[in-house]
């Protein structure tokens, strides 16, 4: 049996200059013969498929292009991985600003989701020494990988026609052969992973707490071990068969669908009213079983934006930040104009925004002049968050 272990990059190419797309379209590799994935000299117009004796992890993606005739990045509603035909984007909605190309121009060492040349915005692979809490996307034997690109409608600020190429670089870690998988896990620098693997187990482990409310709810432990066989791989975090307790990656953003009322907070809720679509609801209800933690934020403020608040029902002192064009603490990895300076980002929150047994939401206030809603030719504000959703047993 041929063995293998390592990292590889799959280039999913969507040459819209050859086969164009339109506002509101949803495109996957294979929908047209022009949409392909490439690896070395391999080139196929269909999803990538793991070998029958292979386990893999999607560590991250880079989004390259497209750029429209105005020199702006083509608006993308969401890019989401599709595993064996299943859209796993419950909490994943990546747009054109959120997953920069690591080698597009000067390297950006401040990009937080990077491990050497690999992009790890989903999570560093268990196979590559990632933590026991990693949320890399797990692909079991024979699982397929594809990417869906959805474009916004014109009314939501999308381009009517997309004629510029988009490429998604998918960073994969893989082990072919069960002994290779075990060797990798046993060699992990993470004690929980290596120790469990030595006992033929794969362990997922995380302790989540919040000092501010430790008298209300103490540290919670997510601890789950499965047999270290390939059959169990897709039951790990972010696998198709993931089971509780589990951790899910959140990478998402929100845009205002309604103009702000001057000097009043706008809570980013109610799709179709304050936000455009359901995944943009930035209000979370944490129960005794489900917790949230957000670690990074990126904002493209509107010139009339003044403040962003990370409200937390359990705290009388929610995190509040001035967020103006001239004073924006939360840099988005990419800006709308290609010519704009790349300044790094997203920014790590000074303290993780943690919701345990409480309700939290993001609220925005203008500077006294209303921020318009996104529309054709009109720009509002955009807030992106990177975090995790924890579900206990």
């Amino acid at each position: 049996m041929v063995k293998g272990f390592g990292r590889m990059t799959l280039n999913f190419k969507y040459p819209f200059s050859e086969t164009s797309a339109t506002a509101g379209a949803s495109i996957q590799c294979g929908d047209d013969t022009a949409y392909v994935w490439e690896h070395g000299l391999e080139r196929y117009s269909k999803p990538w498929e793991a070998a029958p004796d292979m386990v893999a992890e999607l560590e991250g993606i880079e989004v390259m292009g497209g750029v429209n005739s105005e020199g702006r990045r083509v608006p993308i509603k969401r890019i989401v991985p599709v595993i064996s035909g299943n859209d796993i984007g419950e909490n994943i909605s990546i747009n054109e600003h959120m997953a920069p190309a690591l080698r597009d121009g000067p390297n950006d060492p401040s990009y937080p989701f990077r491990d050497r040349l690999a992009c790890i915005n989903f999570g560093k692979a268990l196979l590559m020494g990632g933590g026991a809490n990693t949320t890399s996307i797990k692909l079991g034997p024979s699982d397929t990988l594809n990417f869906k690109i959805e474009f916004p409608t014109v009314a939501h600020g999308g381009d009517a026609t997309i004629e510029s190429d988009i490429e998604i670089k998918a960073h994969i870690a893989f082990a072919k052969g069960e002994d290779q998988m075990l060797n990798a896990l046993r060699s992990s620098p993470v004690a929980e992973v290596a120790t469990a693997a030595a006992n033929n187990q794969i362990r997922q482990y995380e302790v989540l707490g919040d000092l501010e409310i430790s008298d209300v709810i103490g540290p919670q432990v997510i601890d789950r071990s499965v047999p270290a066989t390939m059959d169990w791989w897709s039951s790990l975090n972010m696998g198709l068969n993931a089971d509780d307790p589990q951790i899910k990656r959140i990478i998402t953003y929100s845009k205002n669908n309604q103009a702000t009322t001057p000097n009043q907070e706008m809570e980013l809720v109610r799709d179709g009213q304050y936000v455009q679509v359901p995944f943009q609801n930035f209000r979370w209800v944490s129960t005794e079983k489900k917790f949230y933690r957000f670690t990074h934020c990126g904002i493209i403020p509107h010139p009339n934006m003044f403040q962003v608040k990370f409200d937390n029902g359990n705290s009388r002192y929610p995190m509040i930040f001035n967020c103006e064009v001239n004073d924006n603490p939360f840099i988005m990895p990419q800006h709308s104009l290609v010519s704009d300076t790349r300044r790094g980002g997203p920014t790590e929150l000074p303290r993780a925004y943690t919701l345990m047994k409480g309700i939290g939401s993001v609220k925005v206030t203008d500077n006294g002049v209303s921020i318009p809603a996104w529309a054709a030719g009109v720009r509002g504000f955009e807030i992106a968050l990177w975090g995790y959703e924890y579900t206990l047993q």
């Binding site: 005739s69 105005e70 401040s110 001239n326 004073d327 603490p329 104009l337 010519s339 318009p372």
Partner: protein, 258 residues
């Protein structure tokens, strides 16, 4: 300091970010605008805001003020009158009510009482409006040193016109060195464009030079490539003008984070 230098023939926009006005978009690839001078028109040498470089009038002379109806010739099927209701300069324009039966090549002319030498002039300028769209050359302007423009020294094509819109036209003289003692000015119905009404006003001979004109910027979109001028640029400048814009981009803003 970032700057952009570009021809302004096609930069007039109407509505940006929901705000109507005379918007200008920086060329593709320009750094976005973090800040730009908006406190009135700067001096041309201030190095801030926007400065237009365009052919502008250095000196001029009125050829025909169009305050009364042209009557040197009376071509068939073209009724001529002074129109005080629809004019651009003074109290009237000259109105040509062209009937369907007007002949291609018909010439309406007006005598210039004191013949004018155009030595030292480079262009003629005038206002014109038509009730139908026209192509370049459908109408022509004639200048002659003999009456009724029978042997014109200058035959100048009027550019394409958009119906029902006054257009300021500037045409380069073909042979200014020969334009001595101009005694007649005319408009020629060079192509049969059907029944229509044409108004003309304020014919001048001008000498033009490239001038630097500071422009007043009234608004801009932060961190984007749009700025709004306080007023529209005369369409006669299209194709001849360039704009130099000085501004601060995000990467040089001292208050910029990171």
């Amino acid at each position: 300091m970032a700057f952009a230098f570009f021809p302004i023939g096609s930069v007039g926009l109407s509505t940006i970010q929901g705000t109507p006005g005379y918007w200008v978009k920086l060329p593709v690839g320009s750094k976005p605008i973090r800040d730009i001078y908006t406190d009135g028109a700067p001096a041309a040498t201030d190095g801030k805001g926007a400065v237009m470089m365009a052919l502008e009038t250095n000196y001029s002379i009125v050829l025909e003020d169009c305050e009364d109806a042209w009557n040197e010739t009376a071509p068939a099927n073209i009724s001529v009158s002074a129109d005080s209701a629809d004019k651009k300069v003074g109290t009237s324009s000259v109105k040509l009510d062209i009937a369907a039966g007007a002949s291609e090549g018909a010439i309406l002319s007006e005598a210039i009482a004191s013949p004018i030498s155009l030595l030292g002039y480079t262009h003629i300028e005038f206002w014109i409006k038509s009730t139908v769209n026209t192509n370049a050359g459908d109408l022509q302007i004639l200048l002659d040193n003999t009456a009724e423009c029978v042997s014109p020294l200058e035959t100048l094509n009027v550019p394409a016109l958009t119906m029902n819109s006054w257009t300021h036209v500037r045409l380069a003289l073909a042979n200014p060195g020969l334009d001595i003692s101009i005694a007649s000015i005319g408009i020629k119905y060079a192509k049969d464009i059907g029944a229509c009404v044409v108004n003309i006003d304020d014919f001048k001979a001008t000498h033009t030079v490239t001038k630097f004109t500071p422009l007043t910027i009234s608004d801009f979109v932060k961190d984007d490539v749009y700025f709004r001028l306080s007023s529209a640029i005369d369409s006669a400048y299209y194709g001849d003008a360039a704009m130099l814009v000085y501004y601060i981009s995000p990467d040089e803003d001292p208050t910029c984070s990171n």
